[in-house]
C-alpha cells in the first residue's frame, strides 16, 4: 500500500487528475447544498459521465462528488434548516439555532473545519490500516450488530428536545415506518393494507425531506406576516480561531473515531454515525447544557463523524470488495466496468489504483476547505432573494431530489404526506430527529435481531453468552439510558 504511494501520487498530480478532483468536489458541494438533492442523486447525475473516463479519474470523480455532497448537505442544513440527506439531520439540531442567532458564518466555519478534519483523519486511517480494520469488522455478526444498533437507538433520548415521551414516540414511529413493506426474512408484504405501492416501503429520504424541508416551508407559511423571521443573515464562512478550540478537541477526536468505526461496519452508514457522535458529545461534553440551542460542539460532533464515515465505508469496499454503503457499491460496479474485479484480491491486484484512490480521497478532503468557502460565498446572495421565491425553489428541488432517488412517483406522495404530518407534529412539540433515527436504524435492528434469533434457535439470552463485543455494547446502551435518570435524581438531591 504505502510502497505504491509515489506512483499513485503521480496519477493524481496531473492536470487531469487535479481538474477532476477539484471540479468534482466543487460540484458535489453545490449539489449537496441544494435542498432535497443528496449524495445518491448527485452520484446518479454524474455517473453517465464517468463511464467514458479511465479507471482512476472515474473513481476519483465519484469519490469527490460523494465527499463534497456529504459536506454540502451541512450548508443547507445550517442556513435554511433543510438537510439534503439524513446524514445532515443531526447538523440541523445545533447549526440552525446558531444561524438564527446571527452566527451562520461561524456555524459553517465550525462545520467546515470539523468536516475536513473528520475526512482527513479517515483518509489516514484508510491508508495505514484498511486491511486490519476490515478483518476486525468480521467480528461483527448479526448479534454484535444488534447490540450496536441498540446503542445507537439510545441517541433518541438525547436528541429529544422538550419532551422525552414525545421524542421516544417519534423514534418508535420511525421504527414502525421502517417495517412497512416486504419482510426481510420471509418476503411477505406487511402493513400494505392492499396497496401494492407500499410493498417497497417508505423511502427514508422521502420522509426526511418531508418532515424537515417541506414542513419547514409550511412552518414559514404559517407564521403571520408580522412575525416572519427573515432568512438568516450570512456573508460567508467565518473560520473558528485557534483559541476557540479550547475544550473541544477531545469531542472532535471521539467523533472522528466513532465515524470511522461505524463506517467500517456494513449496513450502518453516515446518518447513524452522525447521531451516535452527537449523542455521545451531548452526554460527555462540558457544554452539554447548551446542546440544541446552537452549541458548536454539537455541530463538530455530527459533521466530523459523517465525513469520517465516507472514509470508513471505503475500508470494507477496498479491502474485501464488499460495499460499505450504496455509494461505495456504485464505485465497485464502476470498477468492474473498467475491467477491475472487485473482491478480496482488489488491493493486492491493483495496488497503485487503490493507493491513488486513497490518496485522492485525502486530497479531496483538503480541498473541501477552500472550495467550501467559495461555494458558501456563492450561496450568500441566493439567501437574500425574496423568501416566497425561496419557498418555491425548496419545494421544486425537493420534488426533483425525491423523485430521482428511486424514480418512483409514489415517494413524492410519501414526501407530501410526511411534510404535512411532520408540520402538525412539530407544532405540537414532537421532535423529528428521533423519527429519522428510528427509520435509519429500524431495518438493521430488525434483521440483525431476527438473524440472531435464527442462529441461536430463538433464544435471546444466548445473545450475550460467548459474544463479548455484544455484551459490552449492551452494557453501554443500558448505561446511556440510565444516565439521564441518574442525572435527574442527582439534580433533585442538589436542589433539595
Amino acid at each position: 500500500m504505502i510502497a505504491s504511494l509515489p506512483e499513485a501520487l503521480g496519477l493524481i498530480f496531473t492536470f487531469e487528475g487535479l481538474l477532476v478532483l477539484s471540479l468534482g468536489t466543487m460540484l458535489g458541494i453545490i449539489l449537496g447544498a441544494l435542498p432535497g438533492i443528496g449524495s445518491t442523486v448527485a452520484v446518479a447525475m454524474i455517473l453517465p459521465f464517468t463511464l467514458s473516463m479511465s479507471q482512476a479519474p472515474a473513481i476519483l470523480l465519484l469519490l469527490a462528488i460523494h465527499a463534497g455532497s456529504v459536506y454540502g448537505g451541512s450548508i443547507s442544513a445550517i442556513l435554511i434548516n433543510t438537510p439534503g440527506t439524513p446524514q445532515s439531520a443531526a447538523t440541523c439540531l445545533d447549526g440552525y439555532p446558531m444561524a438564527q442567532r446571527g452566527e451562520a458564518g461561524k456555524a459553517l466555519g465550525w462545520a467546515t473545519v470539523a468536516s475536513v478534519i473528520g475526512g482527513l483523519a479517515s483518509a489516514v486511517v484508510l491508508i495505514f490500516a484498511a486491511p486490519q480494520l476490515a478483518a476486525f469488522a468480521l467480528n461483527f455478526g448479526p448479534i454484535e450488530t444488534f447490540a450496536l444498533i441498540l446503542l445507537g437507538l439510545t441517541c433518541i433520548v438525547s436528541v429529544s428536545e422538550g419532551s422525552l415521551i414525545k421524542g421516544l414516540m417519534a423514534g418508535f414511529m420511525g421504527l414502525f415506518l421502517s417495517t412497512v413493506g416486504g419482510d426481510p426474512i420471509t418476503g411477505e408484504a406487511r402493513f400494505t393494507f392492499g396497496h401494492f405501492q407500499l410493498i417497497a416501503g417508505f423511502d427514508l429520504l422521502a420522509v426526511v425531506i418531508g418532515v424537515f424541508a417541506l414542513s419547514e416551508v409550511l412552518t414559514r407559511a404559517a407564521a403571520s406576516p408580522e412575525d416572519i423571521k427573515p432568512l438568516v443573515a450570512f456573508n460567508g464562512i467565518v473560520l473558528p480561531k485557534l483559541s476557540e478550540w479550547k475544550g473541544r478537541v477531545k469531542g472532535l477526536v471521539k467523533s472522528v473515531l466513532i465515524g470511522n468505526g461505524i463506517g467500517v461496519l456494513p449496513g450502518t452508514g453516515a446518518a447513524t454515525a452522525a447521531f451516535i457522535a452527537y449523542a455521545e458529545a451531548r452526554r460527555s461534553a462540558p457544554t452539554r447544557a447548551n446542546f440544541g440551542k446552537g452549541e458548536p460542539d454539537g455541530l463538530i460532533a455530527s459533521e466530523s463523524a459523517n465525513n469520517a464515515v465516507t472514509g470508513g465505508a471505503l475500508v470494507p469496499t477496498m479491502a474485501l470488495g464488499i460495499p460499505g454503503d450504496a455509494i461505495t457499491a456504485v464505485m465497485l460496479a464502476t470498477l468492474t466496468l473498467h475491467g477491475v474485479t472487485p473482491g478480496i484480491r482488489l488491493m493486492s491486484d491493483n495496488p497503485v489504483l487503490m493507493a491513488a484512490i486513497f490518496a485522492g480521497f485525502f486530497v479531496i478532503n483538503l480541498m473541501l476547505l477552500p472550495l467550501g468557502m467559495v461555494v458558501s460565498r456563492m450561496a450568500a446572495p441566493i439567501l437574500r432573494i425574496k423568501e416566497a421565491y425561496m419557498l418555491v425553489m425548496i419545494s421544486l428541488l425537493c420534488t426533483v431530489g425525491v423523485f430521482f432517488v428511486r424514480g418512483n412517483p409514489f415517494d413524492l406522495l410519501v414526501m407530501a404526506v410526511a411534510g404535512i404530518i411532520g408540520f402538525i407534529l412539530r407544532r405540537q412539540g414532537y421532535p423529528m430527529a428521533p423519527l429519522v433515527i428510528g427509520m435509519v436504524l429500524g431495518p438493521t435492528l430488525e434483521i440483525s435481531l431476527r438473524q440472531g434469533l435464527i442462529i441461536t434457535d430463538g433464544s435471546f439470552s444466548a445473545f450475550f453468552v460467548g459474544h463479548p463485543i455484544a455484551g459490552v455494547l449492551a452494557v453501554i446502551a443500558v448505561g446511556m439510558l440510565a444516565l439521564p435518570v441518574i442525572r435527574v435524581i442527582k439534580d433533585r438531591q442538589v436542589s433539595a
Binding site: 455478526g141 419482510d183 426481510p184 410493498i199 417497497a200 466496468l337 478480496i344 424514480g407 435464527i454 442462529i455
Partner: protein
Amino acid sequence: MKSIVKTTAAVAALVLGAGGAVAQDFPVRPINMIVPFNAGGGTDLLLRAFAPHFAEAVGGDAFVSNMAGGSGTVAAAALAGQKPDGYQMGYWSVTVATVQPQIKDIPYGLDSWTPICSVAASPTVLFTQADSPFKTVDDVVAAVKANPGKYIYGSSGPGAITHLTTVAAFSGLGVIDQMKHLPFQGSGPAMQAMAAGTIQFFGDTELLMTRGDFRPLVVFNNERLSSMPDVPTAAEVGIAAPLNELYLWGGLFAPAGLEPAVTQKLSAACEMAINSDGFQKFAADTSTVLNYRNAADFDPFYRAQYAANSALIDAAGL
C-alpha cells in the same frame, strides 16, 4: 375544400405525433429503457452500456431511467400498466419476471409482457468458503445429516437468485429441512458473513464467486463450465429436473400487446446492439455472459422458466 385538406393534414399530424407507433416510422421519439434498480448497480451499468448501441441500431434515441424498490417489482408493475407503444421497455431479470409475481401479490404476471429479446444469462454456482472442510457435495450431505440444524445457508434476500440457488441445491439433495436459511440485505453482507463463518453456503453466479476466496461445489448448468472443469453439474450429483438448471438471465420486455412489426424491429435492433463491438467489449471487461434470443425464441423460453421456477418457489416455501 382547402380547409378540409388542411384539417385532415393537421389531424394526421396530431395522430402521428401523439399516438406514434406506426412501424415504419418507429421510433419518432426517444425510447425509455427502465432499470428496476438504483443507478450504478450491475443491471444499470449493463443497460447504460447497451443503450447507445441499441439507439444506433434502431435508428433513434434511447435513454436509461431507474425505478427502484420492492426487488424490482415496483418498476415492473408500473410498466405493466403502460400503453404498449414500444417507447417503454424494462430490463427484467429472472427473478423480477418469473419469481416475484409468483410469491407476491403484485399487479403483473405471466401474460403482462411482450418479450423482446434476452441479453445475458449466467448459470449459478453453489459455493463454500475455500478453507472449509467440504470438498464435494457428498461431504456436505454427510455433514448435514450428521448434525441436523447446525449448518446455515445464506442468501441476499428471500426470493433472490441467491436464495433459489441454495434451495435448488439443498432441496435437490434432500437435506433442506435439516438446514437453516439466513437472509441478508444484499450480497455484500452475506459474503462478509461467509468470510466470518456465520454462514457456510452461498449461491450466485460464477462472476460473483470469483470475487472471494470460495470453493465451488456444484454448477447449475446443462454441462460443466470450461472455467472450472472439475466442478460437477447438478444433474451429475443427483439433483433432478427441474431443479438441476438455474440461470440468472435478463432481457428486455415491453407491455403486452405490442404491435408485431415494432416487436420485430426492436428485437432485430437488440441483436445488432449485442453484436456491436462496443457492447462485446463491455461484456468481456465485466465477464458478462451474453445470451441473445430473439422475440420468437424468448417468449417460449420465458414461459417455460416461469413454470419451472414455480417448483423452486414451492421448495423454498415462499
